[in-house]
Point group: C2
Chain length 501, copies 2
């Protein structure tokens, strides 16, 4: 392809990344500083930007340029990845009729309202027709995009490029089979473990100070990013040099803020360390939601909830909360933030039971997409799945099938990326342990920069040159598997609970 055509293609790629960053700012602002009365105006602005991105993506001229570039002999790996990534995205957009996109957006919007009121009334019935319609539309969308007889794959691809149900199902089966007895063994240990801070109060100002300390320790660059407060913590990358995190502070539970900051900080490090020279191309982006989640969970759970981490950082926390932390050891704190409990609610779950919540959702949405489960039978299937997997019967649909907003957003194919994140994190954690000669010592010495640098070199800096599984394989030599995560759980919780798992 001629240089002039490449220049045009790169210009179009850059513009799409610029617009994506603008959407990021509109969204971040909406959740942080936007005045309450401005919701309508902001919705119109977001819709206009999203329509613009769609228009630019399906532009036939972009299709011509991508086809010409793809046909070019001897394309280097980076340019080939640019063309592959944007072509995939473009194909998905082109294949879905505009009427279906509109129908989905409108049905989603009504479904979210219906979900809220169904949730308030603790009854699935009023949400049911909306969910039925959403499943129908997503099936139609999957058919429009195309698939090998597995509709779910077409949706999964939007969150986890390259991943397939045929790969996930056996992996998740093995994981579940191993996790159920582990959870059983851990939840049999009935003694209250560790420090009980439930009755204490923690002023939010020193909490805030500690969250910034944590970000600095992790190597999050506050000159190229910031942290604010919001109701639901999130990370929003406006640009590789402008990565914004939020956290939530309450006087009752400071660890919510601390672990949420570490979690979002993990996402933030991924975004800040993407290849800067490719920032305005489709390679200067995260490879998948699962790989993104592996970064947040590696930092939050495997590092942040480890004993050496608190041996290192407890003195700073004690300096900020001398009265509350008087006489509290790192061991007691470590036990307190690693309780394994059967909870009906996913967002309350610890890192061990969490995956069982995800597996249930994955199986149910897969069955609905396949047509094996009618939406009217969903609450029953949910409750049965909770009994089998977690030994819990939800009191009502509010703490059962209505607890998450995701299905009201018509998000099918997103939940499994949470568990993929845990699995990838464990594989990376093992490789870091090996390459740095013992991660526990590194963490206890406060050498978190070495962890960040390892991830920046082997994961973040790769951008989206390859798909997630290949990135992890090249970084570690390990294929995607449940074993490293299970080994991590057995070692950590076996020691903590004094049981053999």
């Amino acid at each position: 392809m001629e240089q002039v055509a490449w220049d045009e293609l790169l210009h179009r790629m850059g513009e799409l990344r610029d617009f994506a960053g603008v959407v990021g700012l509109l969204t971040w602002d909406q959740e942080t500083f936007m005045p309450a009365g401005s919701a309508g105006g902001r919705a119109a602005q977001l819709a206009a930007m999203q329509a613009l991105v769609h228009e630019r993506t399906i532009d036939p001229r972009l299709g011509e340029l991508l086809a010409a570039a793809a046909a070019e002999a001897g394309l280097d790996e980076t340019r080939a990845a640019m063309v592959r990534n944007l072509s995939r995205e473009r194909e998905r957009a082109v294949r879905v009729p505009a009427a279906l996109v509109r129908d989905l957006a409108e049905t989603q919007s009504r479904a979210v309202e219906a979900w809220r009121s169904a949730r308030a009334g603790q009854s699935f019935a009023t949400f049911q027709p909306h969910l039925e319609r959403l499943v129908e539309l997503r099936r139609a969308q999957a058919d429009a995009i195309g698939h090998d007889s597995e509709r779910y794959d077409a949706l999964l691809e939007g969150h986890e490029p390259g991943m397939r149900v045929a790969r996930l199902e056996p992996l998740f089966d093995r994981l579940e089979k191993a996790l159920v007895p582990i959870v059983g063994a851990l939840t049999e240990v009935r003694d209250a473990r560790g420090w009980n801070y439930g009755d204490l109060r923690f002023p939010v100002e020193p909490q805030w100070e500690f969250t910034l300390y944590l970000l600095r320790e992790m190597g999050f660059d506050l000159q190229r990013g910031r942290q604010d407060r919001s109701t639901h913590p999130f990370t929003d990358a406006i640009h590789v040099d402008d990565v914004r995190l939020t956290t939530r502070l309450t006087e009752e539970n400071p660890f919510q803020a601390f672990f949420s900051t570490i979690h979002e900080g993990g996402h933030g490090l991924y975004e800040q360390n993407l290849p800067k020279d490719l920032a305005r191309t489709p390679v200067g982006a995260a490879a998948s939601m699962g790989l993104h989640e592996s970064q947040s969970r590696l930092w939050e759970n495997m590092i942040g909830r480890s004993l050496p981490f608190w041996r290192r950082h407890l003195p700073e926390l004690r300096r900020l909360f001398p009265a509350q932390l008087e006489g509290v050891s790192a061991e007691a704190l470590h036990a307190a933030v690693n309780r394994v409990e059967r909870s009906p609610i996913r967002t309350d779950a610890d890192e061990v039971t969490y995956n069982l919540h995800i597996l249930l959702r994955f199986r149910l949405e897969l069955a609905m997409l396949r047509g094996d489960l009618a939406v009217r039978d969903l609450p029953g299937a949910w409750n049965e799945g909770m009994r089998k997997g977690l030994g819990i019967t939800p009191k009502n649909d509010r703490e059962g099938v209505l607890q998450d907003i995701h299905w009201a957003w018509a998000e099918f194919g997103y939940f499994p990326t949470y568990t993929l994140g845990n699995l990838y994190a464990a594989i990376l954690h093992r490789a870091i342990d090996r390459d740095l000669g013992g991660i526990e010592r590194v963490v206890q010495d406060g050498r978190l920069a070495q962890v960040r640098d390892w991830l920046a070199r082997h994961v973040h800096g790769v951008g989206h040159r390859w798909d997630a599984e290949e990135i992890v394989f090249r970084a570690t030599g390990e294929p995607l598997d449940a074993e490293p995560f299970l080994a991590y759980v057995r070692a950590k919780y076996g020691a903590l609970y004094g049981v053999t798992l």
Copy 2:
């Protein structure tokens, strides 16, 4: 025109307004919360959005739709104004060649750098070639846009639609002729007047509280807007329901913050009270920069710096600063914030001398655009103008011709809108006084809502249905003239200084 074409035109108008709001958010964020390291990424995002707006504006299809709408019989006044406003804007954009737009942007960018270093070195010489090129390019742009042998008109039109040099020159001549002796008489009164707060310190937290009190008193809706801090105070309307102000707090001079908040609050009220049902059309926007400035100056100077205002609000200020304000009367405070002084610097000037600074800039930029003044002769002409108008000889170019950034931005035709703002404000102030049965009593009673409502009904709510002068004429029955402003100055400062003006 068929309904379907009108729908398309309204859609395109709405989208342009949405994108303008997005640019507003990018700009606001850049000056408030954006991380320092993100300047490059943000510049690319802003450039992409501006290129998009330009592309959409010059789109031939928009031209067709506007032409068809303009040809429609019996178009109602609002739709006619929409078509007029957007057609004017589109014509200006279409007529200027893309190469000239690019050349201007690049030259501006280099000129700003050159201006900064020239200013630091206190010497005009290094800035001169850049300014020469900018004048040349603006002349070419004015010729491309078209004019009746007065190039300046083509530039003025971009800030003050409908205004012409032929109208401004005699108006400004009369104003100057009257102001020079008034300034002379006032600056002859040599006694230090009023309260001297120069050695006191004012903590910023209660200042912030007082600025929010002022905004509430003015009726600025903090559910549909917000205030933040920034180095240079500004107002940014992201949407009619999302109007953002900034102020600047220093311990040395709390009145800088107070009057800056009132000033931006005046701009903010204009934006919040534009016709909401027309928000996504070219009528739901301010009519001109001069009319905008009339709102900020009316609130800041004519209301905020009036004696009844401080009689009303001094108790609240004293509650926040009891030690600093002990024994200070409203009269002493009023005198302190209304000192008339000859200063070389425009931004330090009071409301009386301010206009003389503007008139000098207007005459010089007009002469450069006409080709009557060579750029190399500008510093000399500046210093001579300062001597004649204000009786001051600048010590160097830094406090002379290099003090403002505007010319480095190639902003010609913008300065006169500041003085137009003062003139419009005085006309509106007089009408409000008449319609509300005495504005002094209204202000002293704290009934600022009545002032806001008058402005919302007669000025803000009109949107850009008519141009500024017509809006003011319909609101007040008065044509644009210098007399109301001069009468206001004579009355206020004559009383305050005890002289006959």
